[in-house]
């Protein structure tokens, strides 16, 4: 129903809260790329990212009536997919759940890394995969998706100050890794 795309987003959110699935479909159409991208950047695996995005969107539909302010829908949705992806990372096992600050063994480059190795962007993705997940997540959400410290802190269950620290360490690592391109 393309006439709905002309409506203000908060109207679509309110209608979806009432159970209007066509309004929700318009919202999914509008936000699915961001949701998928957050999952992909956190998980680095297209199949896992697709699953996480799908679950996050369905969770959003189920919890929509709890959302108090329709204007906060995009941030709220980012939180849901961020948390979902974080759970997937935790479930992947001990290699992914090292304490913040430890350096990870580089994982085998995933499908994303393989196709892009050799260029600057590939180097960034490779360097990102060398970060401990908590740092990687904070960096991705902040610098690639533009979320605020408070929002990120809510997703990863920590304080804004800890988020700042992680982003600082991530940035230091990434700047070093990309040094050859200066």
């Amino acid at each position: 129903m393309h006439w709905e795309t002309a409506l203000p987003e908060s109207v679509l959110v309110e209608r979806a809260q009432d159970g209007d699935d066509r309004a929700f479909e318009t919202l999914v159409r509008r936000h699915q790329d961001t949701v998928y991208r957050i999952a992909l950047r956190m998980l680095r695996d297209p199949a896992d990212a697709r699953d996480a995005a799908q679950e996050a969107l369905i969770t959003a539909w189920r919890r929509l009536p709890e959302l108090a302010d329709p204007r906060s829908f995009p941030a709220w949705l980012n939180r849901i997919v961020g948390r979902r992806a974080l759970n997937v990372l935790r479930d992947r096992g001990p290699v992914e759940t090292v304490e913040d600050g430890e350096r990870l063994e580089s994982r085998e480059p995933g499908p994303v890394g393989e196709t892009l190795a050799g260029d600057l962007r590939g180097a960034l993705l490779h360097a990102l995969s060398g970060l401990p997940p908590p740092q990687r997540i904070c960096w991705v959400l902040r610098e690639m998706e533009g979320l605020g410290y408070e929002e990120i802190a809510e997703i990863v269950d920590t304080t804004p100050t800890a988020v700042r620290g992680r982003i600082h360490r991530a940035r230091t690592h990434l700047v070093e890794a990309l040094e050859p391109w200066r």
Binding site: L7, S10, R15, G19, W61, D119, R121, V175
Partner: protein, 185 residues
């Protein structure tokens, strides 16, 4: 202004934070200070490859895989929340019921014919006496609110009476906004 001590490691000698500088480089909007300050410019040189890499990544933005929307909506439609129905009166035997969500959609559409009015939430409840409707509406600047709300109420009421054959015993409209800033987004 008090400086958050946790920021100390992130501050340049000029007082600007590396995070702020990086943010401005990524958005392409350097402040006057950042363009002129030697500390900021030296730091910007260090950050340049990172900024280029993030930008390049942004240009090749991944998009949602085909089929994601369809899969999500299949689940959503299978478990639609609004399962309540409105029972229409008729001579019988047999009866006619309409989903509440369908009635709400019809009511919203009827109000869409009123200039300057957009209905958001619309909850319909059937009581012994007739329908009770509660809706939220946005009324564009320049339209007198009482007139616009009355016109919306009339449109919704006549739809319920003509198409559903049900009296409307109560029709509340909450005007939640006057000129929605995210209109047209």
């Amino acid at each position: 202004m008090a400086v958050d001590p946790s920021d100390d490691h992130d501050r340049l000698s000029c007082g600007n934070s590396v995070d702020a500088l990086l943010g401005d480089m990524l958005s392409g909007g350097l402040t006057e200070h950042e363009s002129a300050c030697e500390y900021c410019r030296a730091q910007a040189d260090e950050l340049r490859p990172l900024v280029d890499a993030v930008r390049r990544d942004g240009e090749e933005e991944a998009t949602a895989p085909p089929g994601l929307l369809t899969d999500v909506m299949r689940v959503v439609r299978a478990e639609r929340r609004s399962e309540g129905t409105i029972v229409l009166t008729g001579p019988g035997p047999g009866g006619t019921e309409v989903r509440e969500s369908a009635v709400a959609a019809m009511l919203r559409t009827s109000a869409a014919s009123v200039p300057g009015v957009v209905v958001g939430r619309c909850r319909v409840e059937q009581t012994r006496e007739g329908l009770s409707v509660r809706a939220t509406a946005r009324i564009a600047v320049g339209f007198p609110i009482p007139d616009a709300a009355d016109a919306a109420r009339r449109a919704m009421r006549s739809l319920a009476e003509q198409r559903l054959g049900l009296p409307v015993v109560r029709l509340d409209i909450d005007v939640v906004d006057l000129d929605d800033p995210d209109r047209g987004r």
